[in-house]
């Protein structure tokens, strides 16, 4: 009996200590769910690097002196069920003020409703499906979105004089939305889509699709894909002796595409956002990233850096009154901010951010801005 009581009082004392410690938080903690293992581990790793650099730069800036901020990332393997389990765990843990994630739209759309219900902010730096911010007022996104990229793609395609377009895309939420919104805008502006097909992402041989697309004699082939598949398609197209030029979705604006596709990437037109060609600040980020991690960052790393920085600036402004609700208010009261990708604007109506798109081309494996 005695021992029992001791145990209870010890537990109580511990509980008191814990809550006392909690009241005067010295660490502001963000949760984060991204793919850390599995086939998409590379993207998750790059996102984590982006967060790390943002935290370092924030610390150096001295904007927040009395507290430290952490971003604790856990693995969702880009799977909806894992993301839901993590969401439950993060929501339960009061020390987290908000959650960042995930990479894939499918995953974010699965976990988002849980965060929204629990009134905890979930912000994704990547997932670009139009429905993400429609989940609810607590689900945010700060990335290039398909509904903005689609019309921008159509505009650039028109500038290039493209009349007939063949489109090849990924059959996931990203690819479908990217293809549909680009197609809609392109057709609205008078263009014709002569071919559209979705590929199996795990396949290695895409020559069948390529030959079918080429048979429709398009002016350009649109790649609504990520670098690995786009590179295979580009290489196999040239291998088949087909010289139709490519137009890539903005997701191809990373060094992975020219690295994997080699010469076949040259001549590809695409919109550039998170690319060192777009400005000095981005070029500086790329340089520092490469020095630190030994590899070039991708759009996900840059976008994660921007989102983490946005959150950190909100924390610096609000500290010490940082709560789950205050983070939501902070995000919702944003206007135009300067980021490494140039001026970026928040629209409280649509709750979406607008990034600056630049017309680009790949020449000799390098990205260039077309004036």
């Amino acid at each position: 009996m005695n021992r029992h009581l001791t145990a209870i009082s010890a537990a109580l004392a511990l509980g008191l200590c814990a809550s006392a410690g909690h009241a005067q938080t010295e660490t502001v903690r963000f949760a984060c769910y991204i793919p850390i293992t599995g086939p998409l581990a590379q993207f998750g790793a790059n996102m984590q690097h982006g967060f790390e650099m943002a935290l370092e730069d924030f610390e150096k800036s001295g904007k927040l002196k009395d507290a430290t901020v952490t971003i604790d990332c856990e693995d969702d393997q880009n799977r909806a069920d894992d993301a839901i389990n993590l969401a439950r765990k993060f929501i339960e843990d009061d020390s987290y003020v908000a959650s960042i994630g995930s990479w894939g739209s499918t995953v974010t759309l699965a976990a988002g409703p849980l965060y929204d219900k629990a009134k905890m902010v979930n912000i994704t730096p990547i997932s670009s499906h139009p429905d993400v911010t429609k989940v609810g007022p607590y689900v945010f996104r700060q990335s290039i979105i398909q509904s903005k990229e689609g019309p921008a793609n159509a505009e650039y395609l028109n500038k290039l004089g493209v009349k007939k377009l063949a489109m090849i895309g990924l059959p996931n939420d990203y690819g479908k939305a990217n293809m549909a919104l680009t197609r809609m805008a392109f057709e609205k502006s008078g263009g014709e889509v002569v071919f559209e097909e979705f590929i199996r992402p795990d396949a290695q041989d895409f020559r069948q699709v390529i030959q079918k697309a080429a048979r429709t004699e398009p002016d350009m082939i649109y790649l609504g894909l990520f670098a690995p598949q786009a590179a295979l398609i580009a290489k196999q197209t040239r291998q088949l002796g087909i010289e139709i030029p490519f137009y890539g979705s903005a997701a191809l604006g990373t060094y992975d595409f020219p690295r994997l596709a080699g010469e076949a990437a040259n001549g590809t037109r695409l919109l550039l956002v998170f690319n060192p060609a777009t400005g000095d600040e981005m070029a500086d980020f790329f340089k520092r990233y490469e020095e630190k991690y030994g590899s070039k960052p991708d759009a996900f790393a840059a976008n994660s850096y921007i989102t983490a920085t946005t959150l950190l600036d909100i924390v610096a402004e609000q500290y010490p009154d940082v709560t789950r609700e205050s983070i939501r208010e902070g995000l919702d009261s944003q206007t135009t901010i300067d980021t490494i990708a140039g001026p970026t604007t928040y629209d409280p109506q649509t709750r979406e951010w607008t990034f600056r798109f630049r017309d680009g081309v790949i020449e000799d494996g390098e990205f260039k801005i077309v004036e």
Partner: protein, 302 residues
């Protein structure tokens, strides 16, 4: 134009089907002896591709020197798979326990587990990245065969598959170990009574099968120019389908079924979106199981 298009599609089907066949033969060889499926086989294929990559980049070897390297690595992985996933659960070498259900199920899981370990380890080391085979080593130059454009890699796939098949036939029919392999697979008890060392034969089968798997990984990685830790996953599934369609134990069956699945997928792609062609292989699997449970060339089992 339309003829060339269709011929081009079928050429793709043949080259893809050849790869399926080589993978399926590896599975078949092992199945003939142990009645078990080696689910680590897809990862041996991946290892073959990574050995090619390391040979071409880190070791900077010319193409001709990569071939023996990959074959050696393949053989070594076969030996390792047998040691780690199959031997520990094989306590006795009599027929009843060798082909017992318990052993089959245990090895199914142990080989699957070993495959996962290999895959995740490669994934950790290479961060899940798609890695590029240097352009100098890629077999991606277009070749015009009377209007049908194929790549040098395609010809390499077809050529090497035929070579591997001839080599395998020679091994099985003309060498001591090959004859022992055939003896063990057709009559285990009889083979044992004639003094054949069963364990040695099993190791040999794993080495031969894995050399085939690694060689396929090499040729495919050179043809497509990229390598990734998960590339074996689709292959093992396809190889398994082809093995079942071909009749589980028949090498000619595996070849015919491999070509059948490859060409059927390509042919279907002419009419339906290519994302749907995945169904074709599984459709064939289902039809085989329903209407021809012994497969195309399956032998009657007691």
């Amino acid at each position: 134009m339309i003829d060339h298009f269709i011929l081009g599609q079928l050429a793709i089907g043949v080259s893809v089907g050849m790869t399926y066949a080589v993978i399926a033969i590896g599975l078949t060889l092992i199945f003939r002896v142990l009645s078990a499926v080696n689910f680590a086989h897809g990862d041996v294929y991946t290892i073959g591709a990574f050995a090619t990559l390391i040979g071409a980049t880190t070791l900077a070897l010319p193409l001709w020197a990569i071939v023996p390297l990959v074959l050696a690595v393949g053989g070594l992985s076969g030996w390792t798979v047998e040691r780690l996933a199959f031997r520990p659960v094989r306590r006795f070498t009599d027929e009843a326990s060798l082909r017992s259900r318990a052993v089959r199920e245990a090895t199914l899981l142990s080989s699957l587990a070993l495959g996962i370990v290999v895959r995740e380890a490669l994934d950790q080391v290479y961060k899940g990245e798609w890695l590029v085979i240097p352009a100098s080593h890629q077999l991606t130059q277009p070749v015009n065969l009377g209007g049908v454009i194929v790549s040098t890699g395609e010809i390499a796939i077809a050529g090497s598959s035929i070579l591997l098949l001839i080599g395998l036939q020679y091994l099985l029919h003309r060498t001591r170990i090959g004859i022992a392999i055939r003896a063990v697979s057709s009559n285990l008890l009889g083979a044992q009574f004639s003094g054949i060392d069963i364990n040695r034969v099993i190791v040999a089968v794993f080495i031969v099968a894995s050399i085939l798997g690694a060689a396929a990984g090499m040729v495919v990685s050179l043809t497509y120019g990229s390598v990734q830790s998960f590339m074996g996953l689709t292959m093992i599934v396809k190889g398994f389908v082809v093995m079942v369609v071909g009749g589980l134990t028949s090498i000619p069956g595996a070849v015919v079924a491999g070509l059948l699945v490859g060409v059927a997928e390509a042919a279907a792609g002419i009419f339906v979106p290519s994302a749907w062609t995945e169904m074709v292989g599984y459709g064939l699997l289902l039809m085989t199981l329903l209407f021809m449970p012994r497969g195309l060339f399956g032998r009657r089992q007691a």
